[in-house]
Point group: C2
Chain length 271, copies 2
Amino acid sequence: MAVVTMQRETTAAAETGRTARLTIRRGDHTGATAGLAPGYVQGNLAILPGALAGDFLRFCQLNPKPCPLLAASAPGDWRLPALADDLDIRTDLPRYRVWRDGGIVDEPSDVRRWWRDDLVSFVIGCSFSFEEALMDAGIELRHITCGCAVPMYRTSIATTPAGPFHGPMVVSMRPMKPADAIRAVQITTRFPSVHGAPVHLGKPELIGIADLCKPDYGEPLPVNDDEIPVFWACGVTPQSVIATVRPDFCITHYPAAMLVTDRRNVELAIM
Amino acid sequence: MAVVTMQRETTAAAETGRTARLTIRRGDHTGATAGLAPGYVQGNLAILPGALAGDFLRFCQLNPKPCPLLAASAPGDWRLPALADDLDIRTDLPRYRVWRDGGIVDEPSDVRRWWRDDLVSFVIGCSFSFEEALMDAGIELRHITCGCAVPMYRTSIATTPAGPFHGPMVVSMRPMKPADAIRAVQITTRFPSVHGAPVHLGKPELIGIADLCKPDYGEPLPVNDDEIPVFWACGVTPQSVIATVRPDFCITHYPAAMLVTDRRNVELAIM
């Protein structure tokens, strides 16, 4: 019966967050999620042992721009009803990374065999949600035009520490004409749960970025003479911070293979 | 009886828009209005003959950022009940400029002797209103710190013409740290009826400003290395546009001597 249902879902392709997630769950999509289920919220994943979960939750609350927490599970619970009724965080991402003491030990498409009763799942908002609103407003996103990963930089902006979690804020950069940058501030202000307004614009050196051509993550992107670089707090920050702590065990999403939820991006707009 | 009432008002100083306006009406304040009646909306004034009024109204509606119209009177009517119950536009500004064919013919503190039955008054929003909100948010306004007039520039941004009214947008410039510039976009977006969000930031050359040190109006202001220039559409635009048209007759406020209204700046916030 379940199989029949899932086959039916295939014919609907990735129309909704749910159909995309079910396609992923049954192993029919194991790659990047960009472009899947347009309009539906995608999220970064971090799964931590109970001993670290309290501090990490507090870290997210102290640093809402780089770590906008969309949902946190109860310990050991693989469900996240705030994001989708039938969600199983152990099977619903295309691919995971399993870490031990800071090193990758597995990159499976299902983490049921790694599950523990103390694990807490954190789903953190992602820029896909506000990028949709920017594109709807007719603002060009160069990295999407170029088909490359957005450039990201470690900055001199410190996050507010909580327990062992600390480190620099990572930002993503999008080049824009000044009038578009102003419009982008207005639009992304409406989305505080997916990084919100930019943290910086213009002069990269003021936030410790020596060379825009050398991003720490992603790919470099040209900034034209009639543009300024606009910087948003980035969901790579919590991943970078967790890596610094080198937990004895944790699970994250595989880069670019995010959780697709049942919530719609438009729901996240505060006005 | 009226005299007694006005003397009572004197003891209340310029606490409210109304007391400030009555002080001005009786000739006890003939200078600049900056700092009078904090919290109350002030406005730029243009009074035009009926033959030009329709086109100018359309010009304001087509160019809401430089020409945010707070109120327009009926022809010949010196009242503006939208701004204050007892307002008399002929007496309630500290000083006026009366123009004939593009030249100044009088700078009186009362224009009753110049009044005509076809004159239409236009009151246009002013940056004082959003500057109060910026300062309340802890953002430094350098020209206020320095006690000088904000620098203003004619730009390469064209206004949308209406009838004879056309010409470049004039902008005011405030230097800000990038994070303050982002906050300032958010705050001034809430005030569309007093110029709203900036029209440009960063690179002045992109809007035809060759040298920030040489403003067309106001005084130059240093932009520090950790700051970017932020540009707002300016209420000098309609004055500049009217001057270009050289109407056979018109009246404006004397520079810096604005109309003080009974409306509060906070009323203008859209959210």
